[in-house]
Every structure is written in structure tokens, then in C-alpha cells.
Amino acid sequence: MIVVPGRRRARSVEGSGPALIGPDEWRRARVRWGFGGAQVLLLIGLIVIGLGPLVWLAKSAITPTNDTITYPMALFPHGAAWSNLHEAWSNVQVGKYFWNTVVLAIGSWFAQVFVATTAGFALSVLRPAYAKVITALLLTTLFVPAVVLLVPLYVEIVHPPLIHHSFIDSYWAVWLPAGASAFNVVLVARFFDNLPREIFEAARIDGAGPFRLFWSVVLPMSKPILGVVSVFAVLASWKDFLWPLLVLTNPDEQPLSVRLPQIQSQTSLGVFLAALFIASLVPIIGFLIFQRSFLRGTGLGGAIKG
């Protein structure tokens, strides 16, 4: 609701729906300046709070350590130090940890999307008689705090049933538990519930078995929810700290989130900040790219009359 006063007035005059402040009131100078000014202040405040730290981090990443310590508020008193970025990437091996993080994120993303869509499909579309019981069980797991599950999960990864081979120090130890997200399953199942069932029925009459139905009809119609699950999955994996720290003991395999605190003691402040900047860049860019295509409307127009 942050709108420049002029535009706000134009829209109010067009008159769709009740405006907080009517067009007549806008004409009164005191209201206009008072309310409009408040809006602008709010906008500036939000920008400072939201963007400020990021910009500050970007600035510090290319500032020599001495300057950052001595003149924290100054803008490049002795020029920029681009070498921070390079040093962080190669000398401190942020590049390698970065790659580890990407691999972990892709695997976790795949596990989550795979489990969420197939389980959601089974519970919502195929609907076997016991689907209600399973859904109820899934919902109850949402009430168990993740911390409580930490120890049992760890034990299970060390002594997995049937396999009898510890997953510790392998990426499977991160990927597999990531898939077990009741929240994702419930989210996707609810989305599938709202897809028009006639379309599934039409596909079945057209000759589609369950697999076809899933792959050729349900998945393509589910892009919006896949986007949501994907964004959550990648972000959660990117910033997860505790679990990778527990199950990945070999530093060469650890992701950025685990390595960054250790890096801090091994290098200068400038390089560390550069590493932090690199680490936060990917989620931000990814979100900027994908938010549009993922979070917009469902695009189901014309499927059914209604």
C-alpha cells in the first residue's frame, strides 16, 4: 500500500472499491501532505531495513579489512579491494564449499519435490481407502518440533534399517531426511485437491494409467505449487546449518553454512565478509529470477467451465 500520492489520487478518482481516503479528502492540502509524507517515509524505512544490510555487506566485501575496522561508516576511504572476492573464492576455498552447497541443495530439492508430488498424488488423486489415515498421521508429525527428532534421526542415519551401512559423511545423509517433509506433502496434496477432478477422469477415460496421469496431466498443471516447494526447498537447504554439521564431518564435503564460521578464524575480516557475500548471493539472485514464474497464477484458464 505504498503508493506515490499523485497516483493514489488518480486511482481513487477512477473509483474502484472504497479507498481509505476519498478523492475529496485528497484535495485538502493537509491530508495530502500528511498522509502522502507518511507513505514516503514508510517506503524509505522499508528500503533501509530490507536492503540496507545487503548493500552494507556488498560494500564491506570489497573494502580492505583495515578500512572496515577503522572507518566503519566511510565509503572506500582508500579505494576498493576487489581482491577480497578472489581470495575468498580460491584461497579460502569458498568455491569448493559453494559447489558442495549447490550439490546438497539440488539433491534436497529433488528429494523434496519427488516425495511431495508422488505422496500428494497418492493421497489426493488416487485416494486409496487408507489415505485419510495417512494424511492424519502426516498432520500429526507437523506438531513434533524438529529439535526433538534430531537424535532419533541421527541414530537412524548412523544405523539405517535394512541397509546396515552408515550414511555419515555421505550426501545421502542430508538428501534423504530432506525428502521426509510432511509439510510439503500436505501442501501439495491440498493443491491437488483443488485441481478439477473431471480432468483426471477425462484422462483416465482417454486411457491414462496412474503413472501417465501423474506425469502428463497432474505435474504440468502443478507448476505453481512446484515452484513454491522448490523455492522453500532450496532456501531451507542453503541455510541449513545444524544437520549438515552433524552428519558431514569431513570439511571437504561441508557446505558454506557449516564452513563459514570456521573460515572466520582462518582469514581476515575483509575476505570473510566477501565469503559471506558470495554465500548470500545465490539465494537472492535465484529468488529474483524465479519469483515471477513460480509464484504467479495457476494458468488453468479454460480447462473447465465454471
Binding site: 477425462a202 483416465r204 477415460i205 482417454d206 491414462a208 494458468g299 480447462a303 473447465i304 467451465k305
Partner: protein
Amino acid sequence: MAAIEFQAVSKVFPDGTRAVDSLDLEIKEDEFMVFVGPSGCGKTTALRMVAGLEEISEGTISIGGRVVNEVQSKDRDVAMVFQNYALYPHMTVAQNLAFGLKLRKFDKAEVRRRVSVAAATLGLEDYLERKPSALSGGQRQRVAMGRAIVREPHAYLMDEPLSNLDAQLRVQVRAEIQKLQRTLGVTTIYVTHDQTEAMTMGDRIAVMRGGTLQQVDAPEQVYRWPVNRFVAGFIGSPAMNMVNARLTRANGDLVASFGQHSLVIGEEVLANRPALRAHEGGEVVLGIRPEDIEDAAFAAEAPGRTLTVVCTLREALGAEVLVHFSAVDDESAALIARVDQLTAARMGEPLQLVVDTSRLHFFEPASGLAIYGEGGRVGAPVAA
């Protein structure tokens, strides 16, 4: 292509609703069968059981002589047109049409051939690359039809496919569907609650009510010889007028009197309804179709066929005029006559009407069953 047979089929939903109750019906090969009835009478449920989308609670359904109770939808080889189209939103029109063929492993050239034939038949050539969201309602409806006809299945199942179209388009598509069904010669079950569609399209129509089948016959037979009050009132528009009447004998003729009016029952009526004689001296429900009542100015007047009434409402439809009048003082329910467009009837003015007494209908007041009787008309209609 294949006959469809219902044998004592019932559908009981988990909540106990008996949507279809022991339905017995045989649909012949290549026949166009229309299921018609008021909302909620179980038409869609019956159709979905044929399609395999709804489990059959009791009885058996066979398609082409094969009992399909345990056969999955995809293996029944039927095509269905849904009331709300149910097109695949993420596929183009061409992909929508081709989907069923691809799943049935037709080779690419054959798929392309059939899609283009269907598109040409339905006038969809210009839209093949569009998504359903970029089509008008009528075009979507045709895509839904096209998806059924490319398959060349054993049977078409259509659930009120025209209900979303405007009146003009409906008449047009109605004719198209009929033509298509005749040329393709595929057994079709067509569900509608519109009695005009039922009358014009069906080889036979099955009238349903509350899950039970009332009557199955050719449309004109159902129109002329309804088995009960419900069918009589449902088929025909405006609906048949019904009044309680007393049967008496006067001058040797059987006379039905209601209010101050009395109509002499014609010989042909008695020939078709011998059981009527048994009701002499008793109450019956007299049914007169609006189209069997004419303004006296346009019909040969005859004693015992004339009603003198006051017109309470006049609706000019162009080709004809609907005259509302009340025949029985204590009954507020108006009767309707469908008279010549040049009628002089005016609201509030008296009017002479002539009834075609050879086409009167009679029903038992208690059961609502039509009175025909031994040796009378109507062979053995199904009645509940």
C-alpha cells in the same frame, strides 16, 4: 458399435444416498439413447457407472456383451464428454485431441490424420495450436466433442454437453451432434435435463426420477403415451395441464367434468384406454396438453368439447400464443392453452376454447399411473 446393458444396476453412495435404483435398460448398437429427468435424478451417476468413474453397487453393466463391473475406465473403450468440458489446460487443442490416441499407441501419422479429420468435422482447424484458455465456450465445447470422436470408441457418453452454450449455439451444436452420431454410428448415451433436447435427439429416451427409470421409448411414444403423471408433466412444453375430474355418463357418453366444464370423452380415447370405464362415477386426473386446446375461432366447434373461460394472462410467442386461464374456481393453478397467433384473446376477457378430446390423458389420482388397461395402448412400459 456396441450394445450397453444395465441389469438391475443400483448405486448407493457411502452416505446412503440411493442415486440409481435397480435400473434395467438395454441400449442397442448404434442407438442414440437420451437419459432425461429433473436435477438430481441420477442421470450423471448412471452415466459415470458406464464410464467406470463410479463403482457399481449392485447389478451389472455390460458393454458389447462384456460385463465391465471390474474393468477400469481406460480399458472400457468409451469416450465421455463432460458437462464442463474438462480439457487439459496445459495442452493445445491439437494435443488435447491427440492425447487419447497417443496413449493407445497409434502411430504418429494416424494420430495426425485423425486429429485433422476431427478438427475439420468440428471446424477447429484454425485453433489447433491454441490453449483452451484462449477459446470461446462454444469452441471449447467442440474440442471436448473432438476429443471423443477422434477415438472412435465403442460408445459415447455425453453429460449435458450443451448446458453451457447460449440458446442459438445450442440449437446449432445439437444438430451437429445428431448428424455426427448418425454418420459415425456409435452407440451414444446422452444425458440432459432439457426435454426439448431429449425429444429432438434421441432414438429413444429414458425418463428418470429419483433414481428410478420411469419409461423408455421413442420420444413420440413417450409424448403420446406417458406411463404416469410425472412423465406426462415432464415431457412436453409447456407442461401438460392436469385437473381433477369426475367421470360420469350422460346421454350414453362418458363425460369428464371439472369446475363448470365437461368434456365428452371420444371413442378413440376409450378404445385406447378400456380401463377408463371402470372409473365411471369416480375421480380421475385429467391431462390436457396445451397444444390440444385451440381458440374456438380456429377450430371446428362441437358440443362437449368447448370450454368457456376467462383469459388471465396472454403470452405471445410469435408463432403461437399461450393463453392462461383457470378452469376450477378453487384452484389457483392456471391452465395453459397454446392457440393460434391470430387469436383475439385479451387479458380479463372471456374466451371460447375447443379441446381435442381424442387426445385426452387420464391418470389414477392415488398412484398417478396412466389409465390404459388390457388391450389398451402402450405395450409394456417400464413403471416403478
